[in-house]
Symmetry: C4
Subunit: 192 residues, 4 copies
């Protein structure tokens, strides 16, 4: 009951975040392919962020599935996570419109970093409501390794953006793909 | 449980996609009927895309209804479908603002093609979780025929747009209407 | 099950329609009260449409509550209703930005008329699934009277807009208020 | 049943309100940090409003949780609350774009005041459906004290904005934080 509204609200916010990003792809005035080509950086940043928000939705879905009860701390931690995710359309658009310029990549990486930390806090606040030997807690260790790798990747993407922005973009992409590959261990526990 | 959140998220995304398209109909500055008439191509493209997104919602609804369990592949396939559908407001606006110019019709047809393929992949990934002689699998064969006709129609609309854009628009419309006519076979199976 | 997704999708669309209208209230550049005063027509049209969409949501909620099963015709009738409701942000903005100019009032009245007809069709398609002496069918007769009064009011608002637009605005307001007053008969049947 | 749709619609509206505010943070044209710095007032107003809408969602969630039945008055009171909340993106943007100018702060405070009153009316209309000695009614007294403090704070923020806008901003922030601290008494009653 409690859980279902937290999920509904989060689903709503994530669905809107993922969809309004497309509004940043301003329709070009001409009808030539060349007009469309100029949108390539904006489109690339859209694809990246679509992947990230989609992954967050999937992980959020699995995480909440395990939660037994929703207390006020979990509600706050969830709101905190949503805050950073609602900023993604902005940082995505800044990065896209400036063709992955160094500062914009740094801000995007910072946004992903904050969202990652917020997710970790949410995970911890949910774990606290589970017994210490709960099978999901064990499975989540694997999850946490992915989280650490991601944070390192975001940190690397910042200096590299000042050398070659494309490399930073690829780092974001590879990190996203690492999350997309289904996590067998967690799936087994969740009985997906 | 799992299924309900996948549906809620998809419903959210589709509801937003169908609604933000109307934001592309920029309110004209004058208050004469002539000012409104200029919006006719944009309005036509809105009607078309409203139909398509509405149809996708209906089919998605029927498809998910049958799904017994949601695994990671179905979640990915669903996200993949949503990706192409979130691009519809953009391709619709480009086509509308350029009065169904050839390139813009080609892109729109391409978008519908990709969405169609993504839907097919989702259908297959759900079918895999059903027994081979499941009555829904049998009913879906009819569905697949419609899918193939649609893909052919989209492919035809591209070259025809370079001859007469209105014809391509009509092809999109007729294809949409083909889907809107309720599918008795599937309905019977779903006991609608 | 079927019903819940139809409701969720409709709730999503109506929630977005009601909320994106506020995006049409462009933030004025100055910070004087005078800057705000210029927005008065836009704000008035927002209030009107908020009322109408809110009423539609409430009535839709009651109507779907009674529906026993959702067939393909109900799904189409529902989509048809949503189509006219998604146009409300556009017609609202055109009317607001042109200070309730005659043509814009006529279009707004036309939009409400189409939505009213679409609602009537949805009601009929749901009634068909109920037994002929169902208590809700009896209660709906009262509802239908309100519907006819509304259609007459919209029809009156059009010529009056060419005489005095404020009168048309008041007609819209009074019609909305007529719907807002809770309908005891229907409530009793629905056991609200 | 009734309740779930009221919640779903409200969740939808609140999710959209919280998310479209980010659209007001117009992506700057340059890619320097200085370009971003100009957005600081807009960003601050976004953070404030995110907190407020998030808090309203949480309180709304708790309030509706207790409601036994939803009558027409509760539906109207809920719609009335949503009306004031949908205006928040507008008042937030006006305040942010004018760097917390006095008039804009006054309007924002007015918006929060109206939302607060609307929430109070909703609370009362739900309380009426509960028995007079219901434990939740007792717990809500504490809640009402917070409500009164907030109204005083909003009233103070208006004159202070004409002296020093930053102080008003801080008052808004402190008031929000007062609500964010979990309310043990209500939690116990709700068994969170």
């Amino acid at each position: 009951m409690h859980k279902s509204r937290l999920e509904a609200f989060s689903d709503g916010v994530l669905a809107i975040v993922i969809t309004i990003m497309v509004l940043e792809m301003k329709v070009p005035h001409g009808q030539e392919w060349a007009n469309l080509k100029e949108l390539l950086p904006v489109f690339s940043s859209y694809v990246l962020s679509f992947l990230y928000v989609g992954i967050y939705w999937g992980n959020h879905h699995n995480l909440l599935h395990v939660a037994k009860k929703i207390n006020a701390y979990i509600m706050l931690a969830n709101l905190h996570l949503l805050f950073w995710l609602t900023l993604i359309p902005f940082t995505t658009a800044w990065m896209g419109e400036n063709s992955f310029g160094p500062n914009t990549v740094a801000l995007y990486a910072g946004n992903l970093t904050c969202a990652g930390i917020a997710y970790f806090i949410l995970q911890k606040s949910i774990e606290k409501t589970l017994e210490s030997n709960h099978k999901f807690r064990v499975a989540l260790r694997h999850h946490s390794v992915k989280g650490i790798i991601s944070q390192v990747a975001y940190a690397l993407a910042i200096p590299l953006a000042y050398v070659e922005p494309v490399v930073s973009g690829l780092i974001f992409l590879v990190t996203a793909l690492m999350w997309i590959i289904p996590d067998r261990k967690i799936e087994k526990v969740l009985d997906l």
